[in-house]
């Protein structure tokens, strides 16, 4: 097992830059998520770690060894493809034993290993079937079997649950996480699904347009987003943004929006200009005493909670409220935010402004 360090990794396809100077570190044994919308460079990054693409510049260290230019076959890694890529002309047993055969392992030993892996994954009874007739879940397990049979330094997975139907996906996600915890292997997992990333990952890298937007634990990324992109990409519904113009002195604990004052985590640096106030829907509350007024546009009932869409002077925002709280459409209400959770962003650059809340996270982000 191994730690993986990515330093200034860059990949260009002709004039298009797919990955732009990424740097992050994956600790030994971590379940690491590469998250972003399609075309953000996450898969390209994974393929460079695997050795299926050569970086234009930058370094990849696997287990302390620089291997950005090494062929995939010499990196001792395993890769699970989105479409599984099981060899169609071989049965399940041969598919799983294929990586062992390349190492020139003896037949008896291969047989024993394959059976052991099949037991772990619960696919002993399909070992002699052809891969063509298997269900999506079984194919997924065979693909995992082919990956774990060799005890590689790390697992790389490219949206491995993307080809499964929603119902089964949840189940497989649990199985995958359980398998990881059991083996303790470093795993790099690419997904565009923020829920999957939050649910399974120890750490998340959020990428957009080839740039690493933020790197950290799921809670930090959710509560302390480093950029407007991260704030809007993570969370459903996403973070609410209220645009305003103002001035911030170091240590300021308040901002003014249309004469209403909102408490904020203490600012750490001065700022003047266009700002965005970001607040998660669950931190928006109805308050009769508040002077910041809004009109209820719509409500969506979700069981234990409801999502209430509100029209303010600064645009629409959504609030996640307990479902027993009464909110009627067209009603005028006052709004209040949980002050300690507010993040302010520079509207121009999209970067979060340093505050008491996020300074620890932004310092190494």
């Amino acid at each position: 097992m191994a730690e993986i360090i990515i330093r200034n990794l860059r990949k260009e396809f002709g004039s298009f830059t797919a990955v732009e100077g990424s740097s992050f570190k994956i600790e030994d044994g971590e379940f690491f998520m590469l998250l972003g919308p399609s075309g953000c460079g996450k898969t390209t990054t994974l393929r460079m770690i695997a050795g299926l693409e050569l970086p234009s510049s930058g370094e990849i260290y696997i287990d302390g060894e620089e291997c950005g230019r090494k062929p995939a076959s010499q990196r001792d890694i395993a890769f699970v493809f989105q479409m599984f890529a099981l060899y169609p002309h071989m049965n399940v047993r041969r598919n799983i034993s294929y990586p062992l055969a390349s190492q020139g392992m003896g037949r008896a030993e291969i047989r024993a290993k394959v059976e052991e892996v099949a037991r772990i994954l619960g696919i002993t009874d399909i070992l002699d079937r052809s891969v063509g007739g298997l269900s999506g879940g079984d194919r997924q397990r065979v693909a995992l079997g082919r990956a774990i049979v060799r005890n590689p330094k790390c697992f790389l997975m490219d949206e491995p649950l993307g080809a499964l139907d929603a119902e089964f996906r949840e189940h497989m996600a649990e199985e995958l996480r359980a398998l990881h915890d059991r083996m303790g292997a470093t795993t790099v997992y690419v997904t565009h699904d923020q829920l999957e990333a939050m649910q399974m990952g120890d750490k998340i890298v959020v990428m957009n347009h080839g740039v690493v937007e933020q790197f950290g634990a799921p809670q930090d990324i959710y509560d302390k987003p480093a950029t407007l992109f991260v704030a809007s990409f993570i969370g459903s519904p996403p973070m609410n943004f209220l645009r305003f113009h103002g001035k911030l002195a170091p240590g300021a604990t308040e901002v003014a929006l249309h004469h209403s004052r909102f408490a904020i985590p203490a600012a750490r640096a001065p700022f003047e200009g266009d700002m965005v106030l970001g607040v998660r829907p669950e931190h928006v509350h109805l308050s009769d005493t508040s002077s910041y007024r809004a009109r209820v546009l719509a409500t969506e009932y979700l069981g234990t909670t409801q999502i209430v869409t509100l029209q303010t002077q600064d645009g629409q925002i959504k609030a996640r409220l307990a479902s027993d709280q009464v909110a009627r459409v067209n009603e005028q209400v006052g709004l209040d935010f949980t002050d300690s959770t507010i993040t302010l962003f520079d509207a121009q650059t999209g970067h979060a402004l340093r505050s008491e809340l996020n300074e620890g996270v932004l310092a190494h982000g």
């Binding site: 695997a50 299926l52 076959s73 390349s102 891969v131 063509g132």
Partner: protein, 312 residues
Amino acid sequence: MSSYSITEPSPRSKWIAGILVVSYALITLIPLVWIIATGFKSSSDSIAYPPKVFFEPTLEGYVNLFTRQTRATPEQLAATPPTTWYEQIVHDNGMVISGPSRFGERFMNSVIIGFGSTFLSVFLGTLAAYAFSRYRIPLKDDLMFFILSTRMMPPIAVAIPIFLMFRAAGLSDTHAGMILLYTAVNLSLAVWLLKGFIDEIPREYEEAALIDGYTRFQAFVKVVLPQAATGIASTAIFCLIFAWNEYAFAVLLTSGTAQTAPPFIPTIIGVGGRDWPAVAAGATLFLVPVMVFTILLRKHLLRGITFGAVRK
């Protein structure tokens, strides 16, 4: 009311389709039956008018095809009584066998040149198609078009330059020369056909093999080739049919050592132009190898490339 189905054709349209298929089969099979039958007719039956549908079969045509004969006087005939059934047939016509004919050699030439050029076309074609399919090659599209453009005029249009080139290079009437020529003609077809098949094979298979610890070449041999078997088989059949049946270049560029069967078979007819059964026998035997080859590869032609192990 009869039940209506959108997948099952109605009994009437099934009948019409059946009649059309059977009549088409009959029309295309008649010449074939004619040739095969003529091979077993006697010389006089073969040119009888009206044509004989029922006749007494004889192997005379096949014996004539494989032997050289000379006319003998009655005394000579009496002095050499026939010892085998084929000597008997020749004997009855007032002839004696003076040796084997050249048909066997010419047939072997066809086999060597036909299969040799097919192998070479498919071998080179697969490598080229793989490279075109998988690698970033400068001017890829232009090169592919250039390869196709070599087939834009009939090959025989350049017969005279090729004749002169072959003469200058000492390739006239050699096996190597003919293999080279047929490979050159077939290669563009092979590259294009095979590229289509290889494009259809998902790259993930090779990438999985690379990650499983195999080299690019091993991945190609062990993963891509089995997947491309269908394409390789059908390409091989197309290449073989062309090289096997080619007549114009064979007439022009071969006369002896490397002469193939197509230009040789018409010469069997002899001076009097009477030996149609021998010609028909030669044509019948000439059909066999392509037929056997196609039947052997039929399994690959019908089988799909993937079995759905990659979801599309």
